[in-house]
């Protein structure tokens, strides 16, 4: 991997000579996406990453003398199709070991496979809850129509409040144009559901507690929220908009884990001359009056720049790197109160051989995304202890066995299980005991649906939210860096004064998970920030 190039001539021949590179802080998915879009447009880009590898929370790591596995994020749910095609990610080496993992809802005695084929899914639902089978189709149809109506809002920059009349009118126009095409009844549904609790929406469609619990899981994963909380339906939609197979509801797994996805983004950037420095931690963003002047690394090295893109949490960007004295008091105060409570723990299990589902004792577990969230109340109860720093006795769990389809992860007959567990508390500190206790609760939960799981476990590793914060720098270990809730969405994301990828300082852009539209590996915040820069500079 090219880390540094001494040759500083502008790539692509686009810019004027000695153009100063755009600096991108953070080589997570969004930093890399931003770099790839800027490089593709002929700009010089230098990505600065504090860790010794790229990918951020979507990285892969080698287990001690074992295989390489995803380090944090483990499945691709919503990678935006425009990003895939515009950056040519397949051309740049992206390969999926599985592109259409079905979601399998599990509880003791029952397995419900929701494959991406609606007919198959319907048939499976009909076996456990006949009345819900047709409702499922209606529900999918609703989500599809919502997606169609909302995609332009998601993939385009949000409006900026406070004076930017042109942008606001543009956004209103876009909204109006979309709304003009939505039927009266859909609009009604959209309006009531957009900020609704996922539980309320599901209650309106389904009777089966099991199906509702499993679907609601996607509304609360990554959020410090219960399914009865407002905004969780938006969270649900966000997980379900755009799948790598082009069909709703399926997940993908890149061969080599999520780090391979980051590699593809980086390859797309590098192909156009972008540069990357690892182990380059930014300690300060230099400011000259009301514009950025460059960055200073922890080593003391200064790098001058006219444009800096930060993919970090806004608290880190403005209060730690820029410094509160360079921003307005009210804005600084708001950021100081911006709470990020991560609530997802990441677990990796090395297991001996393949476990069996309790319901299918005669065959090894198939490829899939397994979800343990047997009803809505289970998800409600999983949040309660986390509010006060305790762990739930019965966490809700999403897990996969990537080694089933990704041979690179099999190692001497051993398989890999990657799991995300909710709701893990954000505590001041974790110890080996607290981690082990939580791993045990998760093991127990999985063992309830895979009776031979516990005895196969050879090793378990846990990253609690605080561990995730320490390792990846994401404040609170938060999936979306900051909550995805209505008052922090669209033109308010991450804050009305820092929306649409631009903050109060000239030349400083925001591109991380806390920018529009949300976290995950869609690549959209990175793309949005790059487009904002190209537009502002007239580089389009």
């Amino acid at each position: 991997m090219a880390l540094e190039r001494s040759d500083l001539t502008p790539p692509g021949g686009g810019g004027e000579p000695a153009e100063r590179p755009v600096l991108v802080i953070g080589a997570g998915i969004n930093g890399l996406a931003s770099a790839a879009y800027l490089a593709r447009a002929g700009r010089r880009v230098l990505v600065l990453e504090g860790r010794n590898r790229l990918g951020g929370m979507a990285a892969s790591v080698r287990l001690d003398d074992g295989p390489v596995v995803s380090e944090c994020a483990h499945l691709v749910t919503a990678l935006h199709p425009d990003v895939m095609s515009e950056l040519g990610l397949y051309r740049h080496g992206l390969r999926f070991s599985h592109r259409r993992l079905p979601t399998m809802l599990l509880k003791p005695g029952t397995t419900l496979a929701l494959s991406e084929d609606p007919w198959e899914a319907e048939a499976a639902i009909a076996e456990i809850a006949p009345g819900d089978a047709r409702a499922y189709r209606r529900f999918l149809e609703l989500v599809r129509r919502f997606h169609e109506a909302l995609d332009p809002l998601i993939a385009n920059p949000p409006a900026r409040l406070g004076g930017d009349e042109a942008a606001l009118n543009e956004a209103a126009h876009l909204l109006g144009a979309r709304i003009g095409r939505v039927s009266e009844r859909d609009f009604a549904a959209l309006a009531t559901m957009l900020a609704a609790p996922v539980a309320e929406v599901l209650d309106g469609y389904f009777a089966s507690p099991f199906l509702k619990g499993g679907l609601a899981f996607d509304g609360v994963i990554g959020a410090f929220a219960a399914p009865s909380w407002n905004g969780t339906f938006l969270s649900f939609l966000q997980r379900r908009f755009a799948s790598v197979s082009g069909r709703w509801g399926a997940c993908g797994h890149p061969a080599g884990g999520l780090g391979a996805l980051a590699d593809a983004f980086w390859n797309a950037a590098r192909a156009n001359g972008a540069e990357l420095r690892l182990n380059a931690r930014v300690s300060r963003i230099a400011v000259d009056g009301d514009r950025v002047a460059g960055v200073v690394l922890t080593t003391g090295e200064e790098i001058a720049a006219d444009i800096v893109v930060s993919t970090l949490h806004p608290h880190a960007t403005f209060l730690e790197l820029v410094g509160a004295r360079h921003v307005d008091v009210g804005f600084a105060e708001d950021l100081a109160h911006l709470e990020s409570r991560g609530s997802v723990a990441r677990l990796t299990f090395v297991i001996e051989g393949l476990p069996r589902l309790g319901t299918h004792q005669d065959e090894p577990a198939p490829a899939g995304r397994f979800v343990i969230a047997p009803d809505l109340g289970y998800l409600e109860r999983a949040l309660t202890p986390a509010k006060f720093g305790a762990t739930p006795a019965e966490p809700a769990v999403e897990f996969a066995i990537p080694s089933v389809h990704d041979a690179s992860m099999q190692h001497e007959g051993r398989h890999i299980v990657t799991a995300l567990a909710l709701h893990a508390p954000l505590r001041a500190a974790e110890t080996d005991e607290t981690r082990a206790a939580f791993a045990d609760a998760v093991t127990q939960t999985i063992t309830r649906v895979m009776p031979d799981f516990r005895r196969r476990v050879r090793r378990a590793e846990v990253l609690m939210p605080r561990d995730i914060e320490e390792r990846f720098g994401a404040r609170g270990g938060h999936w979306h860096h900051i909550d995805l809730v209505p008052d922090q969405a669209w033109c308010l994301r991450p804050h009305a004064r820092a929306a649409a990828y631009r903050g109060p300082l000239d030349g400083l852009y925001l591109a991380g998970a806390s920018s529009h539209p949300w976290g995950g590996v869609s690549g959209l915040p990175g793309r949005g920030a790059a487009f904002a820069i190209l537009k502002d500079r007239g580089w389009g």
């Binding site: 409040l161 709304i179 609790p197 009305a496």
Partner: protein, 514 residues
């Protein structure tokens, strides 16, 4: 308008508001009430000999002036007395009195928490601004989804409102309208009791804890009714809500509506997917062009004539039982209590007095109730109701009413005498801790569970569209929902009825509802 007949099911606040509005516009209205008197949740019930207990509380949180004139109530019929002082007592025994008078209020705050006293005026200004915006966007009357499109089409109005606000204020309003109450209070105040005193009333009826998004909007409810009742302390409606429904009943009758008590609706008959009329328990059938039901959506659907439409709708409506409820307790007392835990000037305070758990306590209480358990210390608000309403207790004696929230919804299905006694014992002890000698003066006590208090948090386009066919459902076009149970929690008293009546009138005249 051609001759049109409407049946309103239920003579509670909302049914009477709707009846009055329709009758005033020339619709022939019959209100059918199952109980032997009108009032619904606003009735008072006989309790210990000589005592009566109002079912719904007497603290007026929010009543829109618009509701009063649109339903034709004679304002002289209502006596609204602002509370001069409202008190919160924390779990640690500290107390904070909030006063109607600005100077007295700041002094009391400064004595407890000087930093918070400095921030309070800004906070109240922010609330007033939020309340004004809420009013401008029409939130006091929750936006029905069917007007949402029109609302967005008229986006100029919203644009203008947002542009005029600027980024900071727009964000502040967004936080108020959709954010979590706890986070909002944490960013303004430091003292747990200051926060607790604001949080309890704002959460009332939502069943949620302060961590849930959408709960901050509860603070705006009082703002929406600010013209009649001061947001900081609230007001007392003389005669309680009972006085209010009586005034409403008179207004409806004066407008020509007929009110029938002891008339329980048993079934709604259908004809081509429209409601054709109602059948009473007695077997009597009444045809109707329009039917307005104040029962919750599911209960309304259960009244429909058996058939595919009823089945389909039942399949789509969530189970009826509310997850949490608000309850009323009442104590018949030999004499008025002395609030010995309060400063001497407040020893004879008549209310309201909150027994206010801090934010964590409120969150825990909500978690417990939602999980089906009785919380250790639910939020409680005490009123010496008899001091303002002499009819509630015999001369010389006193009635103390308590609003308790939240309690598990499962309780409304019935619960054991021991469980009830346990809850009352516990409450009695909590009150005894702030009013020495209180327990010795108790002559009788009771606990009544309120209806499901519309649990949920506020949303711009919330539930309660006034129609059954919201959110993709297909329902009879001439059946309107006008009960509070299905309405957005930010709706002030009577809004559901007002809203449904407006929808009916718009449908009748083909005009759009503003």
């Amino acid at each position: 308008m051609p001759e049109v007949s409407a049946v309103v099911i239920g003579a509670g606040v909302d049914g009477l508001v709707a009846a009055s509005m329709l009758a005033r516009r020339g619709v022939t209205v019959s209100v059918l009430e199952a109980a032997e008197e009108i009032g619904g949740a606003a009735r008072t019930l006989a309790f210990h000999p000589g005592f009566r207990i109002p079912l719904a509380p007497e603290r007026l949180l929010a009543l829109r002036p618009g509701l009063v004139w649109e339903s034709g109530i004679d304002l002289h019929d209502l006596t609204i007395v602002p509370h001069g002082t409202s008190v919160a007592i924390g779990e640690d025994g500290r107390s904070l009195a909030r006063h109607l008078d600005d100077e007295a209020d700041l002094r009391a705050l400064a004595a407890l928490a000087p930093g918070d006293a400095l921030r309070m005026p800004l906070f109240e200004t922010m609330l007033a601004r939020g309340g004004a915006l809420a009013d401008r966007l029409g939130l006091g009357e929750p936006l029905g989804v069917e007007t949402a499109r029109a609302f967005l089409k008229r986006s100029r109005r919203v644009d203008a409102a947002l542009l005029a606000l600027g980024a900071d204020e727009a964000h502040e309003c967004a936080r108020l309208l959709s954010g979590a109450l706890g986070a909002l209070l944490d960013r303004h105040f430091a003292d747990p009791l200051v926060k607790a005193g604001l949080a309890g009333p704002a959460l009332l009826g939502s069943g949620l804890g302060p961590m849930a998004p959408g709960t901050a909007a509860g603070l705006l409810l009082a703002q929406v009714g600010a013209q009649l009742a001061p947001p900081r302390t609230g007001a007392h409606l003389m005669g309680g809500l009972k006085g209010f429904v009586e005034a409403l009943g008179r207004a409806a009758a004066a407008a020509g509506a007929s009110l029938r008590v002891n008339a329980t609706v048993r079934e709604l008959t259908l004809k081509h997917d429209r409601v054709a009329g109602v059948v009473l328990e007695s077997g009597e059938a009444l045809p109707a062009d329009l039917v307005l039901s104040t029962l919750p959506a599911r209960a309304s659907v259960e009244l429909l004539e058996a058939g595919p439409l009823r089945e389909a709708l039942l399949g789509q409506l969530p189970a009826a039982e509310p997850s949490v409820v608000t309850a009323r307790a009442a104590f018949a007392l030999e004499r008025a209590p002395r609030w010995t835990a309060l400063p001497p000037a407040l020893h004879r305070h008549i209310g309201p007095i909150q027994l206010a758990p801090d934010l964590g306590g409120l969150e825990r209480a909500s978690d417990a109730a939602r999980a089906g358990a009785v919380p250790d210390a639910p939020w409680a608000e005490l009123h010496l109701a008899s001091a303002l309403d002499a009819g509630l207790a015999p001369p010389g004696k006193a009635l103390l009413t308590v609003t308790l929230s939240p309690l598990p919804g499962a309780l409304s299905e019935g619960w054991s005498a021991e469980a009830e006694a346990g809850l009352l014992d516990h409450l009695q002890a909590r009150i005894g801790a702030v009013a020495r000698g209180f327990e010795a003066t108790i002559e009788g006590r009771t606990l009544a569970l309120g209806a499901g208090a519309g649990a949920g948090s506020f949303r711009l386009f919330g539930r309660g569209a006034g129609r059954l066919d919201a959110g993709g459902r297909a329902g009879p076009k001439n059946l309107y929902l006008c009960g509070a149970a299905d309405h957005a929690p930010l709706a002030p008293l009577g809004t559901a009825g007002l809203k449904a009546a407006k929808l009916c009138l718009a449908d009748l005249s083909g005009l759009k509802v503003a």
